[in-house]
């Protein structure tokens, strides 16, 4: 599903953020990306979204080499990769329903389908009946579920979560993880960058640890392994 072939990224300021990375992530996997700040986690994620262009090597996403993907084709790559951020990134002047529908409108989905699918995805993330609320009327955990719902509404095969629990308390974090696990069980490949030791240790999923732009560990059933 995602393959890094000898990928390096050197920024203009000389920082080597990714150093000859080779890694393959299969369809349906749930992978944690861990590592200290500045280890290259963000660059790793951004390069899959083609927000960052790598300096050398190839990245294959969903059987497509995106390294030389034309700028104009990038939107079509992003439709295959849902993204969830630490800060939710919801539009404050739109309701929950509108925030999610927005992602479908962009792809030109007919209104009939939008009306049908938004309640379904709201049920999946456990927000049934909250469609008419505005983001500021919801708790942090609920807002993050809205953002997950939005990223999943168009059924992308891959979901990238960049510290999705970073702003949430432990209980709420677990609720989010349950939602992500449900999505993963439906067949979506999930890549989650995190600093949350407890979650990584308990989930018992694959862990890729990055340090200084290199893969320090890659374990099928891994642990967080840092003292923070």
């Amino acid at each position: 599903m995602i393959e890094f072939q000898n990928v390096s990224k050197k920024y203009d300021n000389g920082v080597l953020a990714l150093d000859r990375i080779n890694v393959t992530i299969e369809k349906g996997e749930f992978v944690f990306i861990v590592g200290p700040s500045g280890a290259g986690k963000s660059t790793f994620i951004k390069s899959i979204l083609k927000e960052v262009n790598v300096t050398s090597g190839n990245i294959v996403v969903d059987d497509m080499d995106i390294t030389k993907l034309h700028r104009r084709r990038v939107p079509y790559l992003r439709r295959k990769v849902g993204v969830v951020f630490q800060d939710f990134r919801l539009l404050p002047n739109k309701t929950v329903y509108e925030n999610i529908a927005f992602a479908m409108e962009i792809l030109g989905t007919p209104h009939r389908n939008i009306r049908k699918q938004v309640p379904m995805i709201l049920a999946l993330v456990g927000l049934t009946g909250k469609g008419n609320f505005y983001p500021n009327q919801l708790s942090g955990g609920e807002q993050q579920r809205v953002s997950i719902a939005r990223s999943m509404i168009n059924n992308p095969p891959i979901l990238i979560a960049d510290e999705p629990t970073g702003n949430l308390d432990p209980d709420t974090s677990w609720e989010i993880m349950k939602v992500l696990r449900t999505i993963n069980r439906r067949g979506t490949t999930i890549l989650m960058a995190t600093h949350d030791r407890e979650i990584v240790d308990i989930m018992k999923k694959r862990v890729i640890a990055l340090e200084n732009g290199q893969i320090a560990r890659d374990e099928k059933v891994g642990v967080y392994g840092y003292d923070d």
């Binding site: 939107p75 790559l77 927005f102 962009i106």
Partner: protein
């Protein structure tokens, strides 16, 4: 991709209203640009028209003949002139032809000429040129022919007119380009305000996989609308101004040039087209420019 034109238009109007100060600034700058363009355009059009009719009228040279020249001599003079390079046609105008022509030019006052005992007008040869370019050469050659008393040409006037037209045209183009650049810049700034305020939305749109054109579309409408409104206002102004000037010129005093002045309806047809194209163009360019930074992620 479903683009809802009515919704987008409403949204654009709402945004323009929200930033109304900048909107007004943009519209005024487009209006001012187009007004100046319109004035220069009207000037050029009229001078062109005058120059053209002057050229049509004066691309001939009239050579007056010495009185009482025998027919053979006139014949030989005409042959000599015809042989000169650049001469397309030579016509003889007898004394009586000249008188008839004068009478018709004087119209109602023609009867005054009936009192003449003797025809005072000279007979002449009218020489038509292939092009005004040959005028100087032909003039010099004719003056040396025996039997020709005087040569009259309008070359100087025509040349001066043409050089004035050229100067106005050149200066106009430079001024217009500077003004267009300024207007585009102001619209660029206006649209940037809306783009800034919707930065977050644009960012999310990009992550969800919206194409650049999908994102650009509403802003493009906004900018185009600014240009369009400016074009409409300036068209109205130009119409009012030109109607006024046209009427003023048509008051008795200027009658002799009024025949060459372009009528408002002819001018407005060109102006509307020109203003719409340039106004909308400035608007579109300004908004695309302001989007550039945000789309390069």
């Amino acid at each position: 991709m479903t683009i809802k034109p009515l919704f987008t238009l409403k949204q654009a109007l709402k945004n323009l209203w929200r930033n109304r100060l900048m909107s007004i600034a943009s519209i005024s700058s487009v209006t001012a640009t187009l007004l100046i363009l319109g004035i220069i355009f009207a000037l050029i059009l009229n001078i062109n028209s005058i120059a053209q009719s002057a050229k049509d009228k004066f691309d001939s040279i009239q050579a007056y003949l010495v009185d009482e020249l025998p027919a053979e001599e006139i014949d030989s003079i005409m042959k000599k002139i015809e042989a000169i390079e650049g001469v397309s046609e030579v016509k003889y105008e007898s004394k009586s032809d000249a008188l008839t022509k004068m009478k018709s030019q004087w119209e109602d006052n023609g009867y005054l000429l009936d009192g003449l005992e003797e025809n005072p007008l000279p007979s002449s040869v009218i020489i038509y040129l292939d092009d005004i370019y040959y005028a100087q050469n032909v003039l010099e050659r004719i003056q040396n022919i025996n039997g020709i008393e005087e040569v009259k040409s309008y070359q100087d006037i025509v040349e001066r007119l043409l050089s004035i037209t050229e100067a106005i045209r050149k200066a106009g183009v430079v001024i217009i380009f500077v003004l267009i650049a300024i207007s585009t810049f102001i619209i660029h700034n206006t649209i940037k305000l809306t783009v800034n305020s919707r930065n977050r939305e644009i960012n999310i749109m990009k992550y969800v996989g919206a194409t650049n054109w999908f994102i650009r579309w509403p802003f493009l409408i906004e900018g185009t609308l600014l240009g369009f409104i400016g074009a409409m206002i300036s068209t109205g102004f130009i119409k009012l101004m030109y109607d006024y000037v046209f009427k003023a010129i048509h008051s008795d005093f200027y009658v002799f040039i009024s025949a060459y002045v372009v009528t408002p309806s002819v001018l407005m047809k060109d102006v509307i087209f020109l203003f719409l194209v340039i106004g909308v163009g400035i608007g579109a360019l300004g908004s695309l420019w302001s989007m550039r930074k945000y789309l390069n992620v």
